[in-house]
Structures are given as C-alpha cells and as structure tokens.
C-alpha cells in the first residue's frame, strides 16, 4: 500500500463538561482509504470525540487538521474558545459527513428531500443535478423505491440507510458514523453493516464508532479502543484483537458475551 495522504489528523484533544474531563488528550491519524473503528464502553467518550472532530462540540484544547488544513480556533473576550472562521467550519463540515446514531433525518421532508437538501443549500448544486445525484446514491443503498416516504414511515434500517444516503450525497471526503447500528434489531444490523462494508471496499475514508466486534475486526484498517477519555489501545485489527496489550481491553472483549 502506498503511503496515502493524511485525511484527518487529531492532536491531543481535550474536552470537559463542567468539572468532568471526558476526553483527556486524544490523538488520531486517518489516511485516505482508512476505515477506523472506535471501540469503547458506554460513556468512554466515543461520541464526544466524533462531535469534537466536526466541532459540534468545541474542544477545550487540541487541533484538528482536515486534509492538512488546520481548523483555526480563537478565544473570545469571555474566555470561551470559538472557531476563528465560521465559514471555514461550515466548509469543513460539508466535507466530513456525519451519520448519527439516531439518524436525525429531517422529519418534515421525504427521503429524497432529505438527500438533496444539503447539496442544494450548502454546496449550491442546482436542483436537477442534486436530484440526479440523490437518486443514484439512493439506488446504492437500495432505497430508491422509498424515496418519497417520510422518515416516520420507514423502518429503523431504512431510516439508517436514508441517513447514509444523505451523507453520501455530499460526496464527502470522509464519513463519520456514530454507532450506526445500535438502534437496530439484529436483522437490520446486518443490512446496514453490509452497506458500510460496501463503502469501505470502495476505499472511502471512514471513522466508525461501533459495538460490533465482528465488523471492527473484518472491515476496519485501524482499531482504536477508548477508555475513560484516553486511547487505551490502538493498531491494526489483527494485532489488537489477537494480542491485546491492555488489560482493560481484554476485559472489554471478554465482556461482550459472545
């Protein structure tokens, strides 16, 4: 494998809520075509990490580089840390498409409207082109027949696939998945993982928070285990799963029951 470019670099990220420090210095490098699985027990800070990366939460310290570009932060008079340039953040967000655990589809729009919304109003793609693009991604996730449904009329798995289509339609440089299957029943889990696996095979760069060990082991190029806001273990899947160095991670693997 040739050394591909660094799609995302996170340096020493810190985040506290009140007096609780949730992220205690996380660093992470994702090259192009990397699929990074983020593991960790509940409350270990996985979601917070993803949300800090695209600045849905403002980190207290640390840097994020997207394709080598530093997201510049500054400090207000009130001592709050804020992005220096809102435009830069909006541009960055339009390149890192996030897929939420709870889908967060816009409930008053049909699937198709959901998918064309951001391309049209963020990327300013003309409507006809946005629709064309949307129809092709919907076909990819096998949701074309449901394009005129409202989110409330879809099953969990269908909603999740619509959310993935919405993200794909942005033609993002990178996709962030936050536990994309944990709200689904076992059969739907399989369905959604198949779609993500397909994206991985295409060579998309992805960060995936997941509880599915089989998926982490088979699909990802890197695995990262968070524990109490720190990276407790990371490496390529074979190494991490077969020779875990951290006692806590070994315990976690044992605790997953199967």
């Amino acid at each position: 494998m040739s050394a591909s470019a660094e799609a995302l670099v996170v340096e020493d990220l810190h985040k506290s809520f009140g007096s609780v420090e949730v992220l205690k210095g996380i660093s992470l490098v994702a090259r192009e075509h990397d699929v990074v699985s983020i593991l960790g027990s509940s409350g270990s800070g996985k979601s917070t990490l993803l949300r800090c990366i695209n600045l849905l939460e403002i980190p207290d310290a640390g840097n994020v580089y997207v394709h080598g570009e530093l997201i510049r932060m500054t400090t207000t008079s009130g001592a709050a840390r804020v992005p220096e340039d809102k435009r830069q953040v909006e541009r960055m967000r339009s390149r890192l498409a996030m897929v939420f655990q709870q889908f967060n589809l816009w409930s008053h729009m049909t699937v198709l409207q959901n998918v064309i919304e951001a391309p049209m109003h963020v990327l300013k793609v003309p409507r006809a082109e946005a629709v064309e693009r949307a129809e092709s991604v919907l076909q990819r996730v096998d949701m074309y027949e449901r394009k005129d449904y409202y989110p409330a009329h879809l099953s969990g798995g269908q909603q999740q696939r619509a959310a993935i289509a919405r993200a794909l339609a942005m033609e993002p440089a990178m996709m962030l998945f936050d536990e994309p299957t944990s709200a689904l029943d076992p059969e739907l889990v399989g369905e959604v993982l198949k779609v993500i696996r397909g994206l991985a095979e295409e060579g998309r760069t992805m960060l995936v928070v997941t509880h599915e060990m089989a998926f982490a082991r088979d699909v990802s190029t890197k695995v990262m285990f968070l524990h109490e806001g720190q990276v407790e273990e990371d490496g390529v899947p074979a190494q991490v799963f077969d020779e875990p160095k951290s006692a806590r991670f070994r315990q976690f693997l044992a605790g997953t029951l199967r």
Partner: protein, 251 residues
C-alpha cells in the same frame, strides 16, 4: 321563539358577518407578519434582546383583549398630541382601533406559539443541519422554521378560532359586526334570545368552517406525522400523533 324577526333581519346579519370576516382576516394577516420576527427575536440567546419581545408577549397575553381594545379606542383620546397628529385619522375610527387591538393581540399569541415550536425542534435535526455545514440563517430558513410552522399548525387553528370569538368585542365599540348586528336586532325588537341565538349560530358556522379549513391544511402539511395511508405497509410506521391538547386563549 320568534323566527320571523330573524328572517327579516338576515341581510343585517350577513352585513355584520362580512365585517367580522374582514376584521378577523386582516388582523390575522397583520398579526402573523408581526409574529415571525417577534418569535425569532424572542428565541435569541442574548437575554437583553430577547427581553423586549417577551415583555410584549407577556403584556398582551396577560391582559384581557377587551381592556386592550378599550385602551386603544377610549384611551388614545386622552392624549391631545395624538389627536392633533396625522395618526388621529386612524385612531378616530372604531374599525381601525379594533383592528389594531386584534392584530397586536394575535401577534403576541402567535409569536409565543412559534417561539415554543421553535424551541421544540428536535435537537438532533438541528444538529444534523449543523453537521452538514448549514449556516445559521440557512438552518433557520430551511429546517427550523418549516418544521416549527408545521408543529404550530394545530394551535394556530385554535388561535384563529379565538380571534373569531374575540372579534365579537368589536360590537361593543359601535362597529356593526355580527354581534353588533344582533344587538341592533335585539334593540329594535326586544328579542334577546332569538337575536343572540342567531348570532351564535352564525359564529358556530364560521368556527366549523375554520376547523374544516385547518383539517385540510393539516392533511397536507402533516403527512409526515401520520401513518401512511397506503395498503399493505410493513411495520415501522409511526403511531398517529394524539390530537393536540386544546389550547385556549383569553379575550
């Protein structure tokens, strides 16, 4: 029961009804135009800015419409500077006074309704909009406002009905609206029961008309909240939302 008196006076009632409809429609349009900016400013995170629309809303929701109308109709005449100004052309007429009072009043109620609906926007949906790089204004225009308007629709239906009811107060200040017409019929023929019963009947018809219009509007706008109507749908359909709690409003 003296039905003939009512039948003889139908033209008077129709005229009054027309005035009522005019008053209600105009005040709703003005009120809505005022309510959107009011709600927008009231949701501002900056307290000092949000204070003013909230104070406005608090005053108009906390006092009776009758008193508001009297303040504008009788009250404005207290000020000589106002009577000498060009504005007096407007305040001189009972009709405009009533219209202003109604519009200010419904703006407060509608503004509060929208403010509440905006505050209730599912957090995840707003966050998704942020995550896709939408700017503040795009988020408001494309996600928050359309979704809030839909949620506010049922309570706005109630507001329209209450505006219709509130408009009967116009009859108290010389305007010959539907209630004013009934008062004239009563005054001429001393038939309070029949004359007000007839007015009540016409108001009931107008109310039912409004309910019907809103039902159609909801069929159109709330498709996303209802179970799909098609045959043979699989599971995963959303339970029908229970009817909105009936929100009442004062006069």
């Amino acid at each position: 029961m003296d039905v003939n008196v009512i039948l003889e006076n139908i033209p008077l009632y129709i005229e009054g009804m027309w005035v009522t409809v005019q008053l209600v429609v105009l005040s709703l349009i003005l009120g809505l135009a005022l309510a959107v900016p009011l709600a927008l400013v009231a949701t501002s995170r900056r307290r000092f800015i949000a204070f003013w629309p909230r104070a406005y809303i608090y005053f108009f929701r906390g006092t009776p419409l009758l008193v508001q109308m009297f303040m504008i109709y009788h009250g404005t005449a207290q000020f000589d500077w106002l009577k000498d100004s060009a504005l007096w052309v407007v305040f001189k007429e009972a009709y405009w006074c009533a219209l202003i009072a109604f519009a200010l009043n419904t703006a407060a109620y509608t503004g509060e309704m929208l403010r509440g609906a905006i505050a209730q926007t599912p957090f995840g949906e707003v966050e998704a909009a942020r995550a896709y790089g939408m700017s503040r204004w795009t988020r408001f225009r494309r996600i928050i406002l359309p979704s809030a308007c839909r949620r506010a629709l049922p309570s706005y239906g109630n507001e329209v009905i209450f505006m219709l009811h509130g408009s009967a107060l116009a009859g108290v200040i010389t305007i010959v609206d539907l209630f004013g017409a009934a008062k004239i019929v009563n005054a001429r023929h001393f038939v309070p029961f029949e004359s007000f019963m007839a007015a009540g009947f016409f108001y009931l018809c107008l109310t039912l008309l409004i309910v019907w219009i809103f039902r159609i509007a909801e069929t159109h706008w709330h498709a996303y909240m209802r179970p799909r109507e098609e045959e043979g749908e699989e599971k995963g359909s959303f339970p029908a939302r229970s009817a909105p709690a009936y929100a009442a409003k004062g006069l």
